[in-house]
Amino acid sequence: MGETKNEYRLLLPLLPFLAIVPLLSLQSDSSPTDFAWLIVVAPFIMFPIILITGQVYNKNETWKNTWKEGGILGLAALSVSLSTTIWIVYDYLIGHADIQENTVASWLEWISFDVLQSDYTISQNRILGVDVWVDSLTLMLLFVATFLCFLICWFAIGYMTTDPINEDSNHRFFAEFVLFSLGMFGMVLADNFLWLFIFWEVMGLCSYLLIGFYYWKESAAAAAKKAFLTTRVGDVFLMIGLLILYDIYGSLDFAVVFDDPSTGIGGAVVESSQLFWALMMLFIGAVGKSAQFPLHVWLPDAMEGPTPVSALIHAATMVNAGLYLVARLMPFVDVHHHGVAGLEDFGLIVAWIGGITAFMAASIAFVQNDIKKVLAYSTMSQLAYIFTGLGSALYFLNTGDHHAGYFVLGASLFHLFNHAMAKGMLFMASGSVIHEVHHAHDHLHHGSDHGDHDFDPQDMRNMGGLASKMPVTSTAMMFGSMSIIGIPLIGGFWSKEGIIAETWAAYFHGETMMLGPALLILATAGMTGFYMSRMWFMTFAGQPKSDVIDHVHESTPWIKEPLLILTLITAIGGFALAILGVVDFLSNESQHLSLHGHSLTEQIIHELEHAFLPEDSKLRLVGWTTILLSFVIGPVMAARIHGGQLKEGQSANIFVGWLVKLSGKLGTQDVTWLAESQLAEALDKRLYFDDLYEGIISRTVIPFAEFSAWFDKNVIDGIIKQVESNSVLGSVQIRKVTTGSARDYILMATVGALCIFALLVGVNA
């Protein structure tokens, strides 16, 4: 990639787009929230432009080199979204706007209608409209979404346009990418459940399109279908949830519903059983979207999509939608604020699902060799953490312990933030690895990129020792992994600790049912330490396992910058935000991110104290167990099995060099016996879930569909055909009466005459 230096001038077209928001902020006195529509509309406008221009100017040199097949345009739209978001976030953080104030104001009156009420009067003019809803949750997720969309689009320009397999179809990628961004932004901003659902589905569509980006690949197309259908199952239940909610509250607007969730439409008292089912249905939707047990099967397959897609959709943004939805449900159960009591079971269910998924995904991740699959299971597992946290939060809020509830809610959302940043970065890094390995492979087997199909650039068994070849990537990957593992002081630690602790707290609180999730996620903490480390060591440490590795080198700047930015955020962002009280902010306990009047040092000490030495001795035990498991046992095990020194003469940079060396010193352990066991086999087969589902479908659904088709053709239509053929038969028979002999005709006439007499006599007698 010789023209590296010149590439930045391509960003010049972005400038006018970047100028939009500053101009607006100067021109207008109104609140930036009024311009929130820009976030959604910018990608909306850009989507058809990219798609159509790309189709028309396909293969045009300028389009390819200057506009990066639409990538620059996409980036421009996303830059508008990002800058608007930053503007809004800034506005809120400095306290110009009040988070608590959200009024019903329809920006778009989508449909309006009337409802026949049970007292036979017709309510006038219900409106399903859409407007913007901003609170801390929105702000956090909006920032995550716009920021990552922007960065990953940036990354994709480098990643996609240099991959020969994408030749001439990148406009499709960028258009769908932008459309996805629209869905994500819209979902976060929507002020009611219906539009949340609508954008939710738009994301689903884009996920489908992007997973199936390499549509000619059977595996990709099948994965796309699987993803769409599995999430569709959840979506349908989500929709039923909406229906129930609408029936209860007569509206789907957050403002109306959350104003007083215990009172339904017309002042009716909301039954907890009724609401429970609504929430359950919504939760099933969330489970589908966030790939939780038992609707988790689609996420690993979704890695068939291009890596930027995995990074954005299947790690950082879309899969968070389920979490976002569940977090949105808090007001329903928050008895402190008019919530409906008696919904602890819902919290428990959420926590259990989270716990099960976390453990299951982590264990499957043990045996994955595909670098992206490891990350996919890791994503699943981490999302499950958050679900467990949210479950605890639901439980606490519903039982009245709102302090604990808010804390674990904030922690969960904070983990969401950390995980999104880290996982987005990890995927990009893995993309970088794959990309370069692939390039190196192509370079090595020159011009025969179709020749060697056996080589899988995603297989970690082909890697090893990359730490020296890819300094930036390995560093980024290390910090990302650390954040996910929860290495103390780094990113995810701050949030994960809170989740585990509070889940246990719920158990200690007297809820025995909470023990399960608590134990599961505790175990998962250690497992996370193992498989994330394993991935890192397999990739970057040890001897190269393939001749390709020698030719790997980092090249494209488009890939490096986003990694660097995210590494920074992952490494210190978590800590910084924790100090600024993000947990309280996210749970709406506080309005701003600030030091709360303490000095910086005080705050740091307070946070550290809170993390490592909580007052409750039981929780202290849990905390240290977690640290022990995730920090020591997991990584050390991984290092012993997969770690090792680099090849002679190679050296890594200081950020990662120590780790490689350390792993080399820990020695090796042979685990072949374990790898060949039944358990490993089962894990490799993903605990047979896919087989089970496929088996059920092929044994029930497909035969039944075929039976229906047969039934329709042979029974329902068969009756018609029978009538037809019987008529024809009758026709032939009746025509035989016309024998052609006049004698018979006279006979018939006579018989007829006799019949007439008989009738006349019979009727009149």
Partner: protein, 529 residues
């Protein structure tokens, strides 16, 4: 205005069909082009008029405050047609029929465009024009006799479209189509006649030797004394309308007709003709017999549900693309019955919007299926793979249409679905699980069919071409097909994002419909809203 809209296409179409036969000269090719241009021009002009009527009115206050019985008649004076039996020419549109009229006027030029190069084009395009007249006639006529006349008249051009330009088995299909629907509608005719017999004489239709009239606006359910007879009439009407919609178990004409029909025929069949059933049901059966409607909600529910669920299952078992799409129409039409069965303004508005949305999505589906037939000479799902390589535009339209039909948000179909679902939950609660789960099945068969046609060739640069192509080089769709599909696609998106363009009007209509027509009966029958 509406009279022009109805009679112009009929007249011009017939003239174009007959005149060239009488006038000698001019080569076949010139004739084809001239006829085609005139037909297209006329249909475009009619579309402009229809749009003018639509946009003139749906923004205005007058339009929104329609009450049943206060139709906005475009043609004020009823003209007596056959005074002896009280037939007069009364036309009018309201929120129920206006979208349908507009839809018809829209789909006609589009379907002409799709088959721009049809063989024997000197008949083809005028025939579609005749079709337009008959279709619009059904939607605007407010005299039951005229309504019935137009109702049956639509069969004739469609019969020819299938018979002359259809597929291999067109003989059987066209006969089945004609006889099946004809049978149902003559049964309906008995119902109409019973109603007719119970009408009193009214001013303006004097001179009737029977003392009765067909004016729909002057009819009401009280005219029939016997409740049993009212129910019977309602059932007779239902048979006619349900067959047209079509609803399970009287749907089997549809797949055959669709599979054999030419693309334009399928588009019109699915886009407008099926809506005639739903329209007529609302306009005649429900409007005049609210009591029976409320009493027979279970029937509606069963019909709707079986169409929806069973139709979807049958769809899954299909291997022919067009057949599958046809069954999906059956499935979607089931939702209309369900929407009506809810007895909620929202449900009825949803049903109306379903009629409209399905009216723009299903022609797109059939245009796509037709393009497969046209360019790949086969409709067998699975006989080809990775067609997106060769026909990117076709693939894109297929994607949009398929997604629209499976009810993806921001596309028109979703609005209707969600409206019906909300109303359905209000009325029937957990029964909603059936239609909801059907949405999954819908997704399954749509995705499967897409997977097995435009995706999965396992080759970066080539698709697996069907044998029916016989080694020919595959083509993408022509510009006329592309234009037509593009317009339909844009409308699908437009009405998905801005449904209120028609939805508010429909919603207001539904409210007043419930209020004025059905509410009393709902209360009387003790149906819980």
């Amino acid at each position: 205005m509406l009279t022009i809209l109805t009679l112009t296409p009929l007249g011009v179409g017939l003239l174009l069909l007959i005149l060239p036969q009488i006038l000698p000269g001019s080569s076949a090719d010139t004739l084809r082009k001239v006829n085609r241009s005139i037909s297209f021009g006329v249909s475009m002009a009619l579309f402009v008029i229809a749009s003018y009527i639509a946009f003139e009115n749906f923004g205005g206050i007058d339009w929104l405050n329609i009450n049943m019985g206060e139709y906005q008649l475009m043609n004020d004076e009823p003209v007596t047609l056959i005074s002896s039996i009280g037939v007069s020419w009364i036309v009018g549109v309201d929120a129920l029929s206006l979208p349908m009229v507009w839809l018809t006027a829209l789909l006609i030029p589009l379907s002409m465009l799709v088959e721009w190069d049809a063989k024997e084009g000197h008949i083809f395009h005028p025939l579609i024009l005749v079709m337009e007249g008959a279709l619009i006639g059904v939607f605007v006529a407010l005299d039951l006799f005229v309504f019935y006349v137009f109702w049956e008249m639509t069969l004739i051009p469609m019969f020819f479209l299938i018979l002359v330009w259809g597929g291999d088995d067109r003989k059987y299909a066209s006969m089945k189509f004609f006889i099946y629907t004809f049978t149902a509608s003559v049964v309906m005719l008995i119902g109409i006649l019973i109603m007719y017999f119970h009408t009193g004489d009214i001013a303006g239709v004097s001179g009737s030797i029977t003392g009765h009239h067909f004016n729909l606006l002057e009819m009401n359910s009280e005219m029939i004394q016997s409740e049993g007879l009212r129910h019977l009439v309602w059932i007779l009407l239902l048979i006619g309308f349900a067959t047209k919609m079509p609803s399970v178990p009287v749907h089997t004409w549809l797949p055959d007709a669709h599979v054999q029909a030419p693309t334009a025929g399928s588009m019109l069949l699915a886009g407008v003709m099926l809506k005639m059933g739903a329209y007529g049901f609302l306009r005649v059966a429900v409007s005049l017999f609210p009591e029976s409607t409320v009493v027979f909600i279970p029937i509606l529910l069963i019909l709707g549900m079986s169409s929806l669920v069973y139709g979807a299952w049958v769809c899954m078992g299909q291997t022919n693309l067009k057949r599958m799409v046809a069954y999906s129409s059956v499935s979607h039409m089931g939702l209309i019955f369900l929407g009506i069965a809810t007895m909620q303004p929202l449900g009825i508005a949803g049903a109306l919007f379903m009629m409209f949305a399905h009216g723009i999505i299903s022609p797109l589906l059939f245009a796509v299926a037709g393009a497969f037939k046209h360019h790949y000479h086969t409709l067998e799902i699975g006989s080809m793979r990775g067609i997106a390589h060769h026909s990117p535009y076709l693939a894109a339209h297929m994607m949009l249409g398929w997604m629209g039909s499976l009810g993806l948000p921001l596309l028109a179909g979703f609005v209707a679905e969600v409206a019906i679902m909300i109303a359905f939950w209000m009325s029937f609660g957990w029964l909603v699980i059936l239609p909801a789960l059907t949405l999954i099945i819908t997704a399954v068969y749509y995705l499967n069919s897409m997977q097995k046609t435009i995706f999965e060739s396992n080759d970066r640069h080539h698709g697996i071409l069907p044998e029916s192509l016989h080694g020919e080089e595959p083509r993408d769709i022509t510009w006329h097909e592309n234009t037509s599909m593009f317009i339909l696609g844009i409308l699908t998106v437009l009405f998905g994002i801005f449904p209120f363009i028609f939805f508010d009007m429909m919603s207001d209509w539904s409210t007043s419909f419930i209020q004025d027509v059905l509410l009393e009966e709902i209360i009387n029958q003790g149906v819980k809203p």
